[in-house]
Amino acid sequence: MNLLGEDIVNENGEFVINMGPQHPSTHGVLHLKIWLQGETILRVQPHLGYIHRSIEKMSESLSYRNFIFATSRMDYLSAHINNLACALCVEQGLEVEVPERAKVIRLLMAELTRLSSHQLWWGSTGLDLGAVTPFFHAFREREGILEVIEETCGARLTQNYMVPGGVMMDLHPDFQRKTKAILKQVKEKISEYHELLSGNIIFQQRTQGVGYISPEDAVSFGMTGPCARASGVSCDVRKWYPYSGYEGVQFDEILETGGDCYARYQVRMKEMMQSVSIIEQLIDSIPEGEIQAKTKNVLKLPKGEFYQKVETARGELGVYIVSDGAASPYRVKYRSPNFSNLSAMSHMAKGAKIGDLVAIMATMDLIIPDIDR
């Protein structure tokens, strides 16, 4: 008998165990119930709700200026991009034109966030698969990026920098110089990353062929972001539905065909270089001018429904606002990438060994607060 009063071995001879919510490799409070036959996984059932903070419902009582800050707490590693999605959705309703300078600053910040998020993922993936050194190397570069962000926005993780109509503060005078320095460092060190982890035989054998998902399944589970692109599904929102000036920059959508953990790893490693190239294109040509469009003191969206999707570091984030014409939204719904990606986990883990589940979870890059919201 376990604590829930269920038999550990059920009537079909399946061994039922719980992984999490306090398991170190689940990066938060993800609770997985696993049915095992020996060491082979039969199915996985995620249990949610441990970190539900009712962000959607809370937003209904906040004004359009105020509800953005809460989205930083959803997918905290891409807080800038979440804030951007909300700001874009409100702007869509207000029909304001964002100044060019604000657009470029937003793009720069979004890509810096993506870069730092992927770096943390790289470190923690190594840690989950038994390599401790990558964690420290990843945090060294991430620290540099966070310092750049902190200097301009005033906070490292939950920045709340995007406001409807533009950005909250102007760039710090040192921003360009420091960003260039950190980009140079990142470009140098990514080869070290490959040396340390990508080329490691133990790492390769633990990830290659593990957690395979076919493109058809990835689409039907609603997977987006690097996880789907590793299966060869072209789904980059930045390419397909450009927003906030992504139509003006050159970058490649990274596609792999492996569909396994190693392919997901490769997609993110290559995406880091794409982010670097996007920032390099923009950093020397930040236009002068206003950083905020003129908006009214109390924002009121017209009656109707507004939807905006963006590409966060983990996939497609959708913000859906229903407005009844009042000063606060009637209903807010976030379509979070991690929730949909998690639904495919049972399918990916079927038939894998229990040790592989950690590799699958690590390369899916799950952020639990984003699943529960």
Partner: protein
């Protein structure tokens, strides 16, 4: 088959050494280590200019602040962190004016989102750079930002 088996073992050891080489490099190049020894470096530690640690209300040397009690920050706050209690004050020329009695700031509710600072029309509040806020009692995080006996600065409306 057996050849492949030994080849894999050899490759594994080789890739292990590739990784160890990198670790060894940083082990012998101490100048490239970037960690800070907090809290031993408190004296030299400098936070970023715009770092958001807590909301503070600057007072000048005559114990005067700039807060008019317009409550724009209270409305702008998403969490109900700020509560302003106002009072009627009789000025020297006999007119009655609204002045703040106490500016209550609940630090435990604050998410440091900067929206109050942006909303303030008279630059009365700003973000402080302190960050060591842990206390043993939650009540200590309820702060009154205007100092006792402080007045509104001349010329601020």
């Amino acid at each position: 088959m057996l050849k492949d088996y030994f080849k894999t073992i050899f490759q594994a050891i080789q890739s292990l050494f590739t990784g160890m080489k990198l670790t060894g490099y940083y082990f012998t190049h101490l100048k490239e280590i970037q960690t800070e020894e907090y809290p031993d470096n408190r004296a030299t530690l400098k936070m970023a200019e715009r770092f958001r640690g807590e909301v503070i209300m600057p007072h000048n040397e005559d114990n005067e602040h700039r807060c008019t009690g317009c409550q724009a920050c209270e409305i702008a706050c998403p969490n109900g962190t700020i509560k302003i209690i106002t009072k009627q004050e009789v000025l020297a020329d006999g007119k009655k004016k609204k002045r703040i009695d106490s500016f209550i700031y609940h630090h435990d509710l604050c998410t440091l989102c900067n929206l109050c600072i942006v909303a303030c029309p008279s630059d009365a509040i700003k973000m402080g750079q302190t960050f060591e806020h842990s206390v043993y009692d939650k009540k200590l995080l309820k702060k009154i930002l205007n100092k006792p006996g402080s007045k509104l600065m001349e010329g601020v409306e």
